[in-house]
Amino acid sequence: MDEQMLKILEYSIYGASVLLILVGLYAVLTKKSLIKIVIGLSIIDGGIHLLLIAIGYLKGGTAPIFSPGFEEATAKMVDPVPQALVLTAIVIGFGVTAVALSLVIRLYRHHRTLQIDEIKSLKW
């Protein structure tokens, strides 16, 4: 019974993160408004972070912090290396979104529109 629950959980978590990446890619490739494209980039970031943290999980594991009284529980701790990488990736993803939105404001002031059909240099 426990083995079956873990199988259902594995399919649902990996499937949800892959679906998030696909929905974000659809928004970047198809939509015509610039703000919608930046929203799609932000959704792709969320999907990738969930995938990275789900790889480092250990069954019956606990958080990698040595509280007083738990100093010898090294064998049951989850992997701490993907968590350190995702911590950096969240902050840098926010910086990229902020710079992209400031470029959108600047483009709106120059062309007076936000559709990429009008701004000729972005045509597919």
Partner: protein, 231 residues
């Protein structure tokens, strides 16, 4: 027509990605004899630090943290140079209607509590979950609350840029002092204390406090720049 081609490409990509990731079973240890055993054992025996993520981010891979702080600084300065035209004078904004009494008096009570929580989180970064980045963003959220509630809340731009530069310079200087102790950049040269004490871990406490100040000043400057835009 174009949407149909895009959907076809995405379906093929989704099938291949799901096929790769269902070979990795959830809950099995994937990396046997990897770096995680080294990091988990060295944290308690050498550094006497309770939070493993803090010791990885500041001590074992500390150069990446210096790069990340530099990327945030570049993002804020790029925003400031793109949006340079026609800013409001400091403190005046066009709003549709003033905030109500509840918002104004409530935010005046909440603002010192949020600053205290943010300072607590980045000072005790090596003992419990937290650290410089988390505490810095909590303080920036407190400043955002005050900027939204009051029309004429001023944050002096000069003080923000001085605090940010000063914190960054101290980070690099502490790294350069590592040359005297062991021989590499960002080496831990101060004595490590006891486990679960406030002054443990050597250089880690000082570096994380400086990173907390720098991230708080940068994010407050970013919010301030984008709020004072004029059409």
């Amino acid at each position: 027509m174009r949407k149909f081609i895009v959907l076809l490409i995405l379906a093929v990509l989704g099938y291949f990605m799901f096929d790769i990731f269902s070979g990795l079973h959830l809950g099995e240890p994937h990396f046997v004899n990897g770096v995680k055993d080294f990091y988990l054992s060295k944290t308690v025996s050498d550094l006497h630090v309770a939070n493993t993520i803090t010791s990885i981010v500041v001590n074992f891979r500390g150069f990446d943290t210096l790069g990340e702080v530099t990327v945030l600084f570049l993002a804020v300065s790029a925003m400031g140079s793109v949006l340079y035209k026609k800013r409001h004078e400091a403190g005046t904004r066009t709003v549709l209607f003033a905030s109500s009494n509840i918002v104004r008096s409530g935010s005046k009570l909440l603002f010192p509590a949020i600053m205290l929580l943010g300072a607590y989180v980045f000072i005790h970064g090596h003992l419990s979950p937290g650290g410089g980045f988390q505490g810095g963003t909590i303080i920036a959220t407190g400043f955002l609350l005050m900027l939204l509630a009051y029309r004429d809340f001023k944050v002096s731009h000069h003080i923000l840029s001085y605090v940010e530069s000063f914190a960054g310079i101290i980070f690099v200087v502490v790294g350069l002092f590592g040359f005297m102790g062991g021989g590499t950049f960002l080496q831990n040269f101060m004595p490590a204390g006891e486990l679960n004490e406030l002054f443990s871990g050597g250089v880690i406490g000082i570096i994380y406090v400086m990173v907390g100040f720098k991230v708080a000043a940068e994010l407050t400057g970013l919010i301030y720049t984008i709020l004072h835009e004029k059409d």
